[in-house]
Symmetry: C2
Subunit: 208 residues, 2 copies
């Protein structure tokens, strides 16, 4: 199965601008990507990393500056042309993923396998249906369910917190420190981030 990891490499993670400088956001993006590449590789697959700008990565990076929708839809059109073709797409900002969560994503035999993200996104999917296409705007998980139904594809969803946790906002950083000891967690610790427990959910603070 072909497995693509699209990355926004040009001005990544702007919603983390309140806690990270542009250079730091780029470094953190590379650390998260390293965790995803590790998980995919240890699950026995070869990730194709496709970035909008050059990035440091342990595997070759293809630079393609198109937006996410045209990029992924082009991959779908060229890969899933008949009953044989299959494409998996895993976002690069999922530093909690493990070999097991990638295996769970790839296990079901449905035409379309969706891994919802927190807040309505679609963090990963597998497609074996030639007519399925993506649209990542808005509540994409709802649109993808509907699109899959519209083209007559069988659909299943993977119930994984690790695949659901994309790191977009400062509050999300706590999840990395709580549940990972990978490159992104190391980077956050080295950059002075620590967990702080207040009344409700755990948060992070930066101490240097």
């Amino acid at each position: 199965m072909r497995l693509a990891v699209p990355v926004s490499g040009s001005t990544p993670k702007t919603r983390l601008a309140s806690v990270l400088s542009p250079d730091e956001r780029r470094d953190f993006t590379e650390a998260m990507l390293a965790d995803v590449v590790d998980a995919v590789t240890s699950a026995g697959h070869e990730p194709e990393v496709i970035s909008t700008a050059p990035l440091d990565c342990a595997v070759p990076v293809t630079v393609d500056d198109r937006g996410l929708d045209p990029l992924v839809n082009d991959l779908l059109a060229s890969t899933v042309t008949d009953d044989e073709g299959a494409l998996a797409v895993v976002m690069a900002d999922l530093p909690l993923v493990t070999r097991e969560s990638i295996e769970r994503l790839l296990a079901p035999e449905a035409d379309v396998v969706l891994a919802p993200g927190l807040g309505g996104g679609t963090n990963a999917f597998v497609c074996r249906h030639p007519e399925f296409r993506v649209d990542y705007h808005g509540a994409s998980i709802r649109d993808h369910r509907e699109t899959a139904r519209d083209v007559g594809a069988s659909v299943t969803e993977v119930d994984s917190r690790r695949l659901a946790t994309d790191i977009d906002e400062p509050d999300d950083l706590a999840e990395v420190l709580l549940h990972s000891d990978g490159a992104a967690a190391d980077w956050l610790k080295q950059s002075g981030f620590e967990l702080t427990a207040t009344g409700g959910r755990v948060d992070v603070e930066r101490f240097r």
Copy 2:
């Protein structure tokens, strides 16, 4: 296996006070509890609902006004007395849970099975070790991992977004509308809540 569902029934869900009145928070709490009871029942188990105050529920409710820690630790002490006893505890504010997610929680044979919540909580667990105790304050998932190790228990974690999604804050309501068609989702829709897609994650707005 004994399966307890503790509920805060007296002044529930205060962190939803900006969008729900006290009476509404109580109704919504009952709707979420109904979803959890449904999931547990359809997984073939009989939930013991234990609330700090009387609540409407399809199964009998035991009223016990102790805090969560002494309540659960007392259940552990009285249930898991040897190699035979086992106790599962599932929080009542998990309206996304399904039969499958409850089955996944109960499947592993480890001494302690933890289901992390978003933000460092422990949304559900199974215990088969007579010395394991809980402390829900702060980043409880870290403390529970450590406690389990300290008493020499084998530990595993369940990677489930549905078990991880406890509904505490207004932002969490979107997850209910996105991923459930149970009682809590119905209640939100009937109370005028709708999904709104902006730039980043999906949110909810109340229209009446």
